[in-house]
Protein backbone atom coordinates (compact mmCIF):
# COMPACT_ATOMS: atom_id res chain seq x y z
CA UNK A 1 0.00 0.00 0.00
CA UNK A 2 2.84 2.41 0.84
CA UNK A 3 3.95 1.81 -2.75
CA UNK A 4 0.64 3.10 -4.09
CA UNK A 5 0.65 6.16 -1.84
CA UNK A 6 4.18 6.90 -3.07
CA UNK A 7 2.99 6.55 -6.66
CA UNK A 8 0.27 9.16 -6.00
CA UNK A 9 3.01 11.62 -5.03
CA UNK A 10 5.37 10.87 -7.94
CA UNK A 11 5.45 11.78 -11.59
CA UNK A 12 4.04 8.86 -13.59
CA UNK A 13 6.82 7.33 -15.73
CA UNK A 14 5.76 4.59 -18.05
CA UNK A 15 7.22 1.52 -19.72
CA UNK A 16 4.84 0.55 -22.54
CA UNK A 17 4.59 -3.01 -23.84
CA UNK A 18 2.22 -3.74 -26.70
CA UNK A 19 0.16 -1.13 -28.53
CA UNK A 20 2.52 1.56 -29.72
CA UNK A 21 -0.36 4.05 -29.92
CA UNK A 22 -0.41 4.23 -26.12
CA UNK A 23 3.25 5.28 -26.00
CA UNK A 24 2.73 7.91 -28.70
CA UNK A 25 -0.26 9.34 -26.86
CA UNK A 26 1.69 9.60 -23.59
CA UNK A 27 4.61 11.17 -25.41
CA UNK A 28 2.28 13.82 -26.85
CA UNK A 29 1.16 14.59 -23.31
CA UNK A 30 4.75 15.03 -22.18
CA UNK A 31 4.68 11.94 -19.94
CA UNK A 32 8.07 10.17 -19.70
CA UNK A 33 7.55 6.89 -21.57
CA UNK A 34 9.67 4.24 -23.19
CA UNK A 35 8.17 1.84 -25.70
CA UNK A 36 9.41 -1.74 -25.76
CA UNK A 37 9.86 -3.31 -29.19
CA UNK A 38 8.15 -6.39 -27.83
CA UNK A 39 7.68 -9.58 -29.79
CA UNK A 40 6.11 -12.83 -28.68
CA UNK A 41 8.56 -15.09 -26.81
CA UNK A 42 9.13 -18.76 -27.63
CA UNK A 43 8.45 -18.23 -31.33
CA UNK A 44 4.92 -17.04 -30.55
CA UNK A 45 3.78 -20.28 -28.92
CA UNK A 46 1.93 -19.35 -25.71
CA UNK A 47 2.22 -22.86 -24.23
CA UNK A 48 5.94 -23.02 -24.79
CA UNK A 49 6.29 -19.47 -23.43
CA UNK A 50 4.41 -20.43 -20.27
CA UNK A 51 6.62 -23.50 -19.84
CA UNK A 52 9.79 -21.44 -20.25
CA UNK A 53 8.48 -18.85 -17.80
CA UNK A 54 7.70 -21.60 -15.28
CA UNK A 55 11.25 -22.93 -15.65
CA UNK A 56 12.57 -19.44 -14.98
CA UNK A 57 14.22 -19.45 -18.39
CA UNK A 58 13.26 -15.98 -19.52
CA UNK A 59 15.41 -16.12 -22.67
CA UNK A 60 15.98 -12.37 -22.59
CA UNK A 61 18.44 -10.47 -24.72
Amino acid sequence: MAGIRDLFRQEVRVINLGLEAFALELERLGVPVIHVAWSPPAGGDPRKAALLAALGDEEEE
Binding site: I4, L7, V14, N16, L17, E20, I34, P40, G44, A53
Partner: protein, 524 residues
Protein backbone atom coordinates in the same frame (compact mmCIF):
# COMPACT_ATOMS: atom_id res chain seq x y z
CA UNK B 1 -5.72 -3.95 -69.82
CA UNK B 2 -6.51 -4.66 -66.16
CA UNK B 3 -7.11 -7.88 -64.29
CA UNK B 4 -7.87 -8.74 -60.70
CA UNK B 5 -4.61 -9.50 -58.93
CA UNK B 6 -3.57 -10.80 -55.51
CA UNK B 7 -0.13 -9.82 -54.25
CA UNK B 8 1.45 -10.82 -50.95
CA UNK B 9 4.56 -9.83 -49.05
CA UNK B 10 5.96 -11.56 -45.98
CA UNK B 11 8.20 -9.71 -43.56
CA UNK B 12 9.92 -12.34 -41.42
CA UNK B 13 10.16 -11.77 -37.65
CA UNK B 14 8.62 -8.32 -37.88
CA UNK B 15 6.15 -8.27 -34.99
CA UNK B 16 3.68 -5.38 -35.09
CA UNK B 17 0.79 -4.79 -32.70
CA UNK B 18 -2.74 -5.50 -33.91
CA UNK B 19 -3.98 -1.90 -33.74
CA UNK B 20 -1.11 -0.63 -35.87
CA UNK B 21 -1.82 -3.37 -38.42
CA UNK B 22 -5.60 -2.91 -38.49
CA UNK B 23 -5.18 0.80 -39.10
CA UNK B 24 -2.62 0.10 -41.84
CA UNK B 25 -5.01 -2.37 -43.49
CA UNK B 26 -7.77 0.23 -43.43
CA UNK B 27 -5.44 2.77 -45.03
CA UNK B 28 -4.47 0.26 -47.75
CA UNK B 29 -8.12 -0.63 -48.43
CA UNK B 30 -8.87 2.98 -49.30
CA UNK B 31 -6.26 2.95 -52.09
CA UNK B 32 -7.38 3.33 -55.70
CA UNK B 33 -8.26 -0.03 -57.23
CA UNK B 34 -7.74 -1.94 -53.96
CA UNK B 35 -10.56 -4.42 -53.37
CA UNK B 36 -9.32 -5.99 -50.13
CA UNK B 37 -6.24 -5.65 -47.96
CA UNK B 38 -4.93 -7.53 -44.95
CA UNK B 39 -1.93 -6.82 -42.75
CA UNK B 40 -1.46 -9.29 -39.93
CA UNK B 41 0.83 -11.59 -38.03
CA UNK B 42 0.56 -15.12 -39.46
CA UNK B 43 -0.86 -16.72 -36.31
CA UNK B 44 -3.17 -19.74 -36.78
CA UNK B 45 -6.26 -17.56 -36.14
CA UNK B 46 -5.11 -14.93 -38.65
CA UNK B 47 -4.28 -17.59 -41.28
CA UNK B 48 -7.87 -18.75 -40.89
CA UNK B 49 -9.05 -15.16 -41.44
CA UNK B 50 -6.98 -14.89 -44.61
CA UNK B 51 -8.46 -18.14 -45.88
CA UNK B 52 -12.00 -16.90 -45.20
CA UNK B 53 -11.36 -13.71 -47.14
CA UNK B 54 -9.79 -15.59 -50.07
CA UNK B 55 -6.40 -14.02 -49.35
CA UNK B 56 -4.50 -17.14 -48.28
CA UNK B 57 -1.73 -17.06 -50.89
CA UNK B 58 1.20 -19.53 -51.03
CA UNK B 59 3.39 -16.82 -49.45
CA UNK B 60 0.96 -16.50 -46.53
CA UNK B 61 0.80 -20.28 -46.23
CA UNK B 62 4.58 -20.44 -45.85
CA UNK B 63 4.70 -17.70 -43.19
CA UNK B 64 5.29 -18.45 -39.51
CA UNK B 65 3.63 -17.01 -36.39
CA UNK B 66 6.24 -14.27 -35.99
CA UNK B 67 6.05 -13.23 -39.62
CA UNK B 68 4.07 -10.25 -40.81
CA UNK B 69 1.94 -10.85 -43.91
CA UNK B 70 0.49 -8.19 -46.18
CA UNK B 71 -1.95 -9.33 -48.85
CA UNK B 72 -3.62 -7.08 -51.39
CA UNK B 73 -6.42 -7.95 -53.81
CA UNK B 74 -6.77 -5.22 -56.41
CA UNK B 75 -8.39 -4.67 -59.78
CA UNK B 76 -5.00 -4.41 -61.48
CA UNK B 77 -1.41 -5.46 -60.88
CA UNK B 78 -0.41 -1.80 -60.79
CA UNK B 79 -2.94 -1.01 -58.04
CA UNK B 80 -1.73 -4.01 -55.99
CA UNK B 81 1.89 -2.98 -56.36
CA UNK B 82 1.04 0.59 -55.40
CA UNK B 83 -0.65 -0.66 -52.21
CA UNK B 84 2.36 -2.82 -51.31
CA UNK B 85 4.62 0.17 -51.87
CA UNK B 86 2.34 2.18 -49.60
CA UNK B 87 2.69 -0.47 -46.88
CA UNK B 88 6.46 -0.44 -47.26
CA UNK B 89 6.47 3.36 -46.97
CA UNK B 90 4.36 3.08 -43.81
CA UNK B 91 6.94 0.83 -42.13
CA UNK B 92 9.90 2.86 -43.35
CA UNK B 93 8.37 6.08 -42.03
CA UNK B 94 7.57 4.40 -38.74
CA UNK B 95 11.09 3.05 -38.35
CA UNK B 96 12.54 6.46 -39.18
CA UNK B 97 10.31 8.08 -36.61
CA UNK B 98 11.38 5.60 -33.94
CA UNK B 99 15.08 5.85 -34.73
CA UNK B 100 15.11 9.50 -35.76
CA UNK B 101 14.15 10.72 -32.31
CA UNK B 102 17.34 9.08 -31.11
CA UNK B 103 15.25 6.92 -28.87
CA UNK B 104 16.30 3.64 -27.46
CA UNK B 105 14.27 0.69 -28.68
CA UNK B 106 14.62 -1.87 -25.91
CA UNK B 107 13.28 -5.33 -26.63
CA UNK B 108 12.47 -6.36 -23.07
CA UNK B 109 11.07 -4.90 -19.89
CA UNK B 110 14.41 -5.27 -18.13
CA UNK B 111 16.33 -3.33 -20.74
CA UNK B 112 13.58 -0.67 -20.91
CA UNK B 113 14.10 -0.15 -17.22
CA UNK B 114 17.78 0.50 -17.77
CA UNK B 115 16.79 3.34 -20.13
CA UNK B 116 14.13 4.75 -17.78
CA UNK B 117 15.44 3.72 -14.35
CA UNK B 118 12.87 5.73 -12.40
CA UNK B 119 9.91 4.22 -14.28
CA UNK B 120 7.09 3.36 -11.88
CA UNK B 121 4.33 1.98 -14.12
CA UNK B 122 4.23 -0.65 -16.83
CA UNK B 123 1.34 -0.54 -19.30
CA UNK B 124 0.86 -3.97 -20.85
CA UNK B 125 -1.27 -4.52 -23.96
CA UNK B 126 0.47 -7.52 -25.53
CA UNK B 127 -1.71 -10.51 -26.60
CA UNK B 128 -3.42 -12.09 -23.58
CA UNK B 129 -1.57 -15.42 -23.51
CA UNK B 130 1.75 -13.57 -23.05
CA UNK B 131 0.51 -10.77 -20.80
CA UNK B 132 0.62 -12.48 -17.39
CA UNK B 133 4.31 -13.28 -17.83
CA UNK B 134 5.17 -9.63 -18.49
CA UNK B 135 2.97 -8.46 -15.61
CA UNK B 136 4.71 -10.87 -13.23
CA UNK B 137 8.11 -9.56 -14.31
CA UNK B 138 6.98 -5.96 -13.78
CA UNK B 139 5.62 -6.65 -10.29
CA UNK B 140 8.79 -8.55 -9.39
CA UNK B 141 10.77 -5.44 -10.34
CA UNK B 142 8.58 -3.41 -7.95
CA UNK B 143 6.62 -1.66 -10.72
CA UNK B 144 2.90 -0.91 -10.77
CA UNK B 145 1.02 -2.48 -13.67
CA UNK B 146 -1.86 -1.49 -15.89
CA UNK B 147 -2.87 -4.68 -17.68
CA UNK B 148 -4.92 -3.59 -20.71
CA UNK B 149 -4.74 -7.07 -22.29
CA UNK B 150 -7.76 -9.34 -22.09
CA UNK B 151 -7.83 -13.13 -22.36
CA UNK B 152 -5.68 -13.46 -19.23
CA UNK B 153 -6.49 -16.67 -17.34
CA UNK B 154 -8.41 -16.25 -14.06
CA UNK B 155 -5.77 -18.20 -12.10
CA UNK B 156 -3.08 -15.87 -13.49
CA UNK B 157 -5.14 -12.87 -12.40
CA UNK B 158 -5.46 -14.22 -8.86
CA UNK B 159 -1.74 -15.01 -8.64
CA UNK B 160 -0.74 -11.60 -10.03
CA UNK B 161 -3.04 -9.75 -7.65
CA UNK B 162 -1.78 -11.74 -4.67
CA UNK B 163 1.76 -10.81 -5.66
CA UNK B 164 0.75 -7.14 -6.12
CA UNK B 165 -0.90 -7.04 -2.68
CA UNK B 166 2.19 -8.60 -1.05
CA UNK B 167 4.36 -5.97 -2.68
CA UNK B 168 1.94 -3.07 -2.10
CA UNK B 169 1.59 -2.43 -5.84
CA UNK B 170 -1.26 -1.76 -8.25
CA UNK B 171 -2.24 -4.48 -10.68
CA UNK B 172 -4.96 -2.76 -12.71
CA UNK B 173 -6.83 -5.24 -14.89
CA UNK B 174 -6.72 -7.54 -16.75
CA UNK B 175 -8.92 -5.96 -19.42
CA UNK B 176 -8.40 -2.56 -17.81
CA UNK B 177 -9.37 -0.08 -20.52
CA UNK B 178 -9.14 3.14 -18.55
CA UNK B 179 -7.23 4.62 -15.63
CA UNK B 180 -6.12 8.09 -14.58
CA UNK B 181 -3.10 8.37 -12.28
CA UNK B 182 -1.91 11.77 -11.06
CA UNK B 183 -3.83 13.37 -13.92
CA UNK B 184 -2.24 11.15 -16.56
CA UNK B 185 -4.84 9.41 -18.74
CA UNK B 186 -3.99 5.77 -19.44
CA UNK B 187 -5.61 3.67 -22.16
CA UNK B 188 -8.99 5.10 -23.19
CA UNK B 189 -9.55 8.05 -20.89
CA UNK B 190 -10.94 11.53 -21.28
CA UNK B 191 -9.16 14.80 -20.61
CA UNK B 192 -10.13 15.33 -16.98
CA UNK B 193 -9.29 18.16 -14.64
CA UNK B 194 -7.62 17.10 -11.42
CA UNK B 195 -10.00 17.13 -8.52
CA UNK B 196 -11.34 15.53 -5.40
CA UNK B 197 -13.16 12.41 -6.60
CA UNK B 198 -11.33 9.08 -6.50
CA UNK B 199 -12.44 6.02 -8.46
CA UNK B 200 -12.16 2.27 -8.28
CA UNK B 201 -13.68 0.89 -11.46
CA UNK B 202 -14.26 -2.56 -12.92
CA UNK B 203 -15.19 -1.05 -16.27
CA UNK B 204 -13.47 1.30 -18.69
CA UNK B 205 -16.37 2.95 -20.49
CA UNK B 206 -18.33 3.02 -17.21
CA UNK B 207 -15.51 5.01 -15.67
CA UNK B 208 -15.40 7.29 -18.73
CA UNK B 209 -19.13 8.04 -18.49
CA UNK B 210 -19.02 8.93 -14.79
CA UNK B 211 -15.85 11.03 -15.02
CA UNK B 212 -17.22 12.98 -18.03
CA UNK B 213 -20.51 13.70 -16.27
CA UNK B 214 -18.58 14.91 -13.23
CA UNK B 215 -16.37 17.12 -15.42
CA UNK B 216 -19.51 18.67 -16.91
CA UNK B 217 -20.50 19.62 -13.36
CA UNK B 218 -17.12 21.17 -12.61
CA UNK B 219 -15.60 18.28 -10.65
CA UNK B 220 -12.30 16.52 -11.29
CA UNK B 221 -10.50 13.27 -10.57
CA UNK B 222 -7.89 12.64 -7.88
CA UNK B 223 -7.06 9.09 -9.00
CA UNK B 224 -9.03 6.60 -11.12
CA UNK B 225 -7.92 3.03 -10.61
CA UNK B 226 -9.16 0.25 -12.90
CA UNK B 227 -9.38 -3.21 -11.38
CA UNK B 228 -10.76 -5.35 -14.24
CA UNK B 229 -14.22 -6.88 -14.53
CA UNK B 230 -13.52 -9.96 -12.40
CA UNK B 231 -11.95 -8.36 -9.33
CA UNK B 232 -15.10 -8.44 -7.20
CA UNK B 233 -15.93 -12.05 -8.01
CA UNK B 234 -15.60 -14.74 -5.34
CA UNK B 235 -12.47 -16.18 -7.00
CA UNK B 236 -10.48 -12.95 -7.04
CA UNK B 237 -11.99 -11.78 -3.76
CA UNK B 238 -11.88 -8.05 -4.44
CA UNK B 239 -8.10 -8.08 -3.86
CA UNK B 240 -7.36 -4.99 -5.94
CA UNK B 241 -10.60 -3.16 -5.09
CA UNK B 242 -9.71 -3.34 -1.38
CA UNK B 243 -6.09 -2.38 -2.01
CA UNK B 244 -7.17 0.59 -4.15
CA UNK B 245 -9.76 1.69 -1.57
CA UNK B 246 -7.11 1.75 1.16
CA UNK B 247 -4.87 3.89 -1.04
CA UNK B 248 -7.71 6.33 -1.86
CA UNK B 249 -8.75 6.38 1.79
CA UNK B 250 -5.24 7.52 2.74
CA UNK B 251 -4.97 9.99 -0.13
CA UNK B 252 -5.56 13.54 1.15
CA UNK B 253 -6.62 14.75 -2.33
CA UNK B 254 -9.52 12.27 -2.43
CA UNK B 255 -12.63 13.61 -0.70
CA UNK B 256 -15.20 11.21 -2.12
CA UNK B 257 -14.85 7.72 -3.58
CA UNK B 258 -16.89 6.17 -6.39
CA UNK B 259 -16.80 2.42 -6.97
CA UNK B 260 -18.10 1.20 -10.37
CA UNK B 261 -18.83 -2.42 -11.18
CA UNK B 262 -21.36 -5.19 -11.40
CA UNK B 263 -22.94 -6.40 -8.14
CA UNK B 264 -20.21 -8.39 -6.38
CA UNK B 265 -20.61 -11.81 -4.82
CA UNK B 266 -22.43 -11.28 -1.45
CA UNK B 267 -19.38 -12.04 0.71
CA UNK B 268 -17.22 -9.68 -1.34
CA UNK B 269 -19.85 -6.96 -1.27
CA UNK B 270 -19.92 -7.15 2.53
CA UNK B 271 -16.15 -6.87 2.67
CA UNK B 272 -16.06 -3.92 0.25
CA UNK B 273 -18.89 -2.08 2.03
CA UNK B 274 -17.23 -2.61 5.41
CA UNK B 275 -13.99 -1.19 4.01
CA UNK B 276 -15.82 1.78 2.48
CA UNK B 277 -17.44 2.59 5.85
CA UNK B 278 -14.12 2.32 7.66
CA UNK B 279 -12.57 4.92 5.30
CA UNK B 280 -14.67 7.72 6.83
CA UNK B 281 -15.10 9.34 3.42
CA UNK B 282 -18.37 9.68 1.53
CA UNK B 283 -18.72 6.87 -1.01
CA UNK B 284 -20.94 6.05 -3.97
CA UNK B 285 -21.22 2.50 -5.29
CA UNK B 286 -22.56 2.26 -8.83
CA UNK B 287 -23.54 -1.37 -9.22
CA UNK B 288 -24.88 -2.26 -12.64
CA UNK B 289 -27.21 -5.18 -12.11
CA UNK B 290 -30.86 -6.18 -12.43
CA UNK B 291 -31.62 -6.37 -8.69
CA UNK B 292 -29.83 -3.18 -7.62
CA UNK B 293 -31.97 -0.54 -5.94
CA UNK B 294 -30.71 2.95 -5.16
CA UNK B 295 -30.34 3.53 -1.42
CA UNK B 296 -28.50 5.71 1.01
CA UNK B 297 -26.99 4.31 4.16
CA UNK B 298 -24.95 6.82 6.13
CA UNK B 299 -21.98 7.97 4.07
CA UNK B 300 -22.50 5.14 1.56
CA UNK B 301 -24.92 5.63 -1.34
CA UNK B 302 -25.67 2.79 -3.74
CA UNK B 303 -26.94 3.62 -7.22
CA UNK B 304 -27.86 1.56 -10.28
CA UNK B 305 -26.77 3.76 -13.19
CA UNK B 306 -23.58 5.58 -14.14
CA UNK B 307 -25.27 8.96 -14.29
CA UNK B 308 -26.76 8.46 -10.83
CA UNK B 309 -23.22 7.85 -9.52
CA UNK B 310 -22.20 11.27 -10.78
CA UNK B 311 -25.39 12.98 -9.57
CA UNK B 312 -25.25 11.37 -6.11
CA UNK B 313 -21.57 12.33 -5.78
CA UNK B 314 -22.31 15.96 -6.72
CA UNK B 315 -25.12 16.10 -4.14
CA UNK B 316 -22.93 14.59 -1.41
CA UNK B 317 -20.03 16.94 -2.18
CA UNK B 318 -22.39 19.89 -1.79
CA UNK B 319 -24.09 18.50 1.31
CA UNK B 320 -27.41 18.17 -0.44
CA UNK B 321 -29.94 15.36 -0.64
CA UNK B 322 -29.79 13.35 -3.84
CA UNK B 323 -33.06 12.85 -5.68
CA UNK B 324 -32.82 10.61 -8.76
CA UNK B 325 -34.21 12.21 -11.94
CA UNK B 326 -34.88 10.27 -15.14
CA UNK B 327 -34.13 13.31 -17.36
CA UNK B 328 -32.28 16.63 -17.04
CA UNK B 329 -34.86 18.42 -19.21
CA UNK B 330 -38.37 19.12 -17.87
CA UNK B 331 -40.81 16.18 -18.36
CA UNK B 332 -43.06 18.25 -20.64
CA UNK B 333 -40.19 18.95 -23.01
CA UNK B 334 -39.21 15.26 -23.28
CA UNK B 335 -42.84 14.21 -23.73
CA UNK B 336 -43.40 16.79 -26.49
CA UNK B 337 -40.31 15.82 -28.41
CA UNK B 338 -40.97 12.07 -28.06
CA UNK B 339 -44.50 12.57 -29.38
CA UNK B 340 -43.17 14.59 -32.31
CA UNK B 341 -40.70 11.82 -33.15
CA UNK B 342 -43.38 9.13 -32.90
CA UNK B 343 -45.50 11.00 -35.43
CA UNK B 344 -42.77 10.68 -38.05
CA UNK B 345 -42.64 6.88 -37.67
CA UNK B 346 -44.82 4.26 -39.33
CA UNK B 347 -47.11 2.32 -36.92
CA UNK B 348 -44.99 -0.86 -37.25
CA UNK B 349 -41.81 1.01 -36.31
CA UNK B 350 -41.61 0.19 -32.62
CA UNK B 351 -38.29 -1.62 -32.06
CA UNK B 352 -35.11 -0.28 -30.47
CA UNK B 353 -31.79 -1.12 -32.14
CA UNK B 354 -28.94 -0.11 -29.87
CA UNK B 355 -25.49 -0.31 -31.48
CA UNK B 356 -22.76 0.29 -28.93
CA UNK B 357 -19.00 0.75 -28.93
CA UNK B 358 -18.75 0.73 -25.12
CA UNK B 359 -19.49 -2.61 -23.43
CA UNK B 360 -20.64 -1.22 -20.09
CA UNK B 361 -22.73 1.44 -21.80
CA UNK B 362 -24.47 -1.34 -23.75
CA UNK B 363 -25.02 -3.27 -20.53
CA UNK B 364 -26.45 -0.20 -18.81
CA UNK B 365 -28.86 0.27 -21.74
CA UNK B 366 -30.12 -3.31 -21.34
CA UNK B 367 -30.70 -2.73 -17.61
CA UNK B 368 -32.69 0.45 -18.33
CA UNK B 369 -34.67 -0.80 -21.35
CA UNK B 370 -35.68 -4.22 -20.07
CA UNK B 371 -38.00 -3.17 -17.19
CA UNK B 372 -39.64 -0.59 -19.49
CA UNK B 373 -39.99 -2.55 -22.74
CA UNK B 374 -39.67 -6.25 -21.91
CA UNK B 375 -37.05 -8.76 -23.05
CA UNK B 376 -34.01 -7.46 -24.94
CA UNK B 377 -31.98 -9.52 -27.39
CA UNK B 378 -28.34 -8.84 -26.65
CA UNK B 379 -24.99 -10.45 -27.30
CA UNK B 380 -24.15 -9.56 -23.68
CA UNK B 381 -26.51 -12.37 -22.60
CA UNK B 382 -26.07 -15.40 -24.87
CA UNK B 383 -29.39 -16.90 -25.92
CA UNK B 384 -31.45 -13.81 -25.07
CA UNK B 385 -34.33 -13.01 -27.42
CA UNK B 386 -36.63 -10.02 -27.73
CA UNK B 387 -38.18 -7.52 -30.09
CA UNK B 388 -35.61 -4.89 -29.11
CA UNK B 389 -31.89 -5.43 -29.31
CA UNK B 390 -28.71 -4.07 -27.79
CA UNK B 391 -25.41 -4.99 -29.41
CA UNK B 392 -21.99 -4.51 -27.87
CA UNK B 393 -20.04 -4.17 -31.13
CA UNK B 394 -16.76 -4.18 -29.22
CA UNK B 395 -17.32 -7.83 -28.26
CA UNK B 396 -14.92 -10.44 -29.58
CA UNK B 397 -17.39 -11.84 -32.13
CA UNK B 398 -17.46 -8.48 -33.96
CA UNK B 399 -13.78 -7.61 -33.70
CA UNK B 400 -12.02 -10.70 -35.05
CA UNK B 401 -9.60 -9.20 -37.56
CA UNK B 402 -11.34 -5.83 -37.24
CA UNK B 403 -10.52 -2.78 -35.16
CA UNK B 404 -12.61 -2.00 -32.08
CA UNK B 405 -15.52 0.37 -32.87
CA UNK B 406 -14.02 3.01 -30.57
CA UNK B 407 -11.05 3.19 -32.97
CA UNK B 408 -12.68 2.55 -36.31
CA UNK B 409 -16.35 2.97 -37.21
CA UNK B 410 -16.40 0.32 -39.97
CA UNK B 411 -18.15 -2.40 -37.93
CA UNK B 412 -20.73 0.03 -36.60
CA UNK B 413 -21.41 1.69 -39.92
CA UNK B 414 -22.22 -1.75 -41.37
CA UNK B 415 -24.53 -2.45 -38.40
CA UNK B 416 -26.28 0.91 -38.86
CA UNK B 417 -26.95 0.17 -42.54
CA UNK B 418 -28.21 -3.34 -41.73
CA UNK B 419 -30.46 -2.34 -38.83
CA UNK B 420 -31.99 0.62 -40.61
CA UNK B 421 -33.41 -1.65 -43.31
CA UNK B 422 -35.49 -3.67 -40.82
CA UNK B 423 -39.03 -2.30 -41.21
CA UNK B 424 -39.94 -2.58 -37.50
CA UNK B 425 -36.96 -0.52 -36.30
CA UNK B 426 -38.05 2.83 -34.85
CA UNK B 427 -34.69 4.14 -33.79
CA UNK B 428 -30.99 3.58 -33.51
CA UNK B 429 -29.45 4.17 -30.08
CA UNK B 430 -25.73 4.96 -30.15
CA UNK B 431 -22.84 5.91 -27.87
CA UNK B 432 -20.09 8.19 -29.13
CA UNK B 433 -16.95 7.90 -27.03
CA UNK B 434 -14.31 10.63 -27.19
CA UNK B 435 -10.98 10.95 -25.42
CA UNK B 436 -7.45 9.59 -25.57
CA UNK B 437 -7.16 6.46 -27.69
CA UNK B 438 -10.53 6.98 -29.41
CA UNK B 439 -10.95 7.82 -33.12
CA UNK B 440 -10.11 11.39 -34.21
CA UNK B 441 -13.68 12.20 -35.30
CA UNK B 442 -16.10 9.57 -33.97
CA UNK B 443 -19.24 11.59 -34.81
CA UNK B 444 -17.97 12.43 -38.29
CA UNK B 445 -17.30 8.73 -38.93
CA UNK B 446 -20.95 7.87 -38.22
CA UNK B 447 -22.80 10.85 -39.68
CA UNK B 448 -22.63 9.89 -43.41
CA UNK B 449 -24.19 6.49 -42.62
CA UNK B 450 -26.82 8.07 -40.38
CA UNK B 451 -27.75 10.59 -43.07
CA UNK B 452 -27.87 7.87 -45.72
CA UNK B 453 -30.18 5.54 -43.78
CA UNK B 454 -32.49 8.38 -42.76
CA UNK B 455 -32.77 9.54 -46.37
CA UNK B 456 -33.50 5.95 -47.41
CA UNK B 457 -36.26 5.67 -44.80
CA UNK B 458 -37.79 8.99 -45.86
CA UNK B 459 -37.81 7.86 -49.48
CA UNK B 460 -40.04 5.02 -48.23
CA UNK B 461 -42.45 7.44 -46.56
CA UNK B 462 -41.26 6.95 -42.96
CA UNK B 463 -38.42 8.26 -40.81
CA UNK B 464 -35.86 6.71 -38.51
CA UNK B 465 -35.00 8.28 -35.18
CA UNK B 466 -31.38 8.32 -34.06
CA UNK B 467 -30.50 8.86 -30.39
CA UNK B 468 -27.03 9.21 -28.96
CA UNK B 469 -25.04 10.29 -25.97
CA UNK B 470 -21.53 11.64 -26.32
CA UNK B 471 -19.04 10.53 -23.67
CA UNK B 472 -16.46 13.28 -23.58
CA UNK B 473 -15.21 16.44 -21.92
CA UNK B 474 -14.55 19.97 -23.11
CA UNK B 475 -10.83 19.16 -22.95
CA UNK B 476 -10.96 16.15 -25.27
CA UNK B 477 -9.09 16.60 -28.56
CA UNK B 478 -12.19 15.66 -30.58
CA UNK B 479 -14.08 18.61 -29.05
CA UNK B 480 -17.24 17.71 -27.13
CA UNK B 481 -19.28 20.64 -28.43
CA UNK B 482 -18.22 20.10 -32.03
CA UNK B 483 -19.05 16.38 -31.86
CA UNK B 484 -22.50 17.06 -30.42
CA UNK B 485 -23.12 19.76 -33.04
CA UNK B 486 -22.08 17.40 -35.86
CA UNK B 487 -24.58 14.78 -34.69
CA UNK B 488 -27.37 17.29 -34.13
CA UNK B 489 -26.86 18.72 -37.61
CA UNK B 490 -27.58 15.21 -38.92
CA UNK B 491 -30.85 15.14 -36.97
CA UNK B 492 -29.54 13.00 -34.10
CA UNK B 493 -31.19 13.61 -30.72
CA UNK B 494 -28.21 13.92 -28.37
CA UNK B 495 -28.98 13.27 -24.70
CA UNK B 496 -26.74 14.30 -21.79
CA UNK B 497 -26.03 10.71 -20.68
CA UNK B 498 -26.30 7.12 -21.83
CA UNK B 499 -29.01 6.45 -19.23
CA UNK B 500 -31.13 9.33 -20.55
CA UNK B 501 -30.60 8.23 -24.15
CA UNK B 502 -31.77 4.70 -23.26
CA UNK B 503 -34.83 6.05 -21.42
CA UNK B 504 -35.70 8.26 -24.40
CA UNK B 505 -35.44 5.22 -26.67
CA UNK B 506 -37.86 3.41 -24.37
CA UNK B 507 -40.29 6.36 -24.52
CA UNK B 508 -40.23 6.40 -28.32
CA UNK B 509 -40.65 2.63 -28.62
CA UNK B 510 -43.12 2.19 -25.75
CA UNK B 511 -45.20 5.36 -26.09
CA UNK B 512 -47.63 6.53 -23.39
CA UNK B 513 -47.31 3.68 -20.85
CA UNK B 514 -43.52 4.12 -20.69
CA UNK B 515 -43.77 7.91 -20.63
CA UNK B 516 -46.26 7.75 -17.77
CA UNK B 517 -43.94 5.56 -15.72
CA UNK B 518 -40.89 7.78 -16.36
CA UNK B 519 -42.41 11.25 -16.66
CA UNK B 520 -45.56 11.05 -14.56
CA UNK B 521 -49.16 11.40 -15.76
CA UNK B 522 -48.63 14.61 -17.83
CA UNK B 523 -51.32 16.42 -19.74
CA UNK B 524 -53.56 14.44 -22.12
Amino acid sequence: MTAETIRAVVKPSAYQDSVTLLLLARQLRSGTGVLEAAALMATPANRELLAQSGLFTPEAAAAGVNDLVIVIRADSAAAADAALAQAEAFFTARQKRLEGAGRALPRTLESARRHLPDANLVVISVPGPFAAREARKALSLGLHVMLFSDNVALEDEVALKQLAVRKGLLLMGPDCGTAILNGVPLGFANAMPRGRVGFVAASGTGLQQVTCLLAARGEGVSQAIGVGGRDMTEKVGGLMTLQALDALGADPATELIIVIGKPPAPAIRERVEARLRALKKPCVMALLGREVKARQDGALTTVATLEDASEAAIAMLHGMAWIPRPFSAPPGEIRGRVQAVRQTLAPEQRAVRALYAGGTLAYEAVLILEPLLGPIATNLTPGSVGRHSVLDLGADEFTVGRAHPMLDATVRVEAIRRSAREPDVAMLLLDVVLGHGAAADPAGDLVPAIEAVRAEARAQGRDLAVLASVIGTAGDAQGLEAQVARLEAAGVWVLPSNAQAARTAACIAGGDPVMRSLLGPGEA
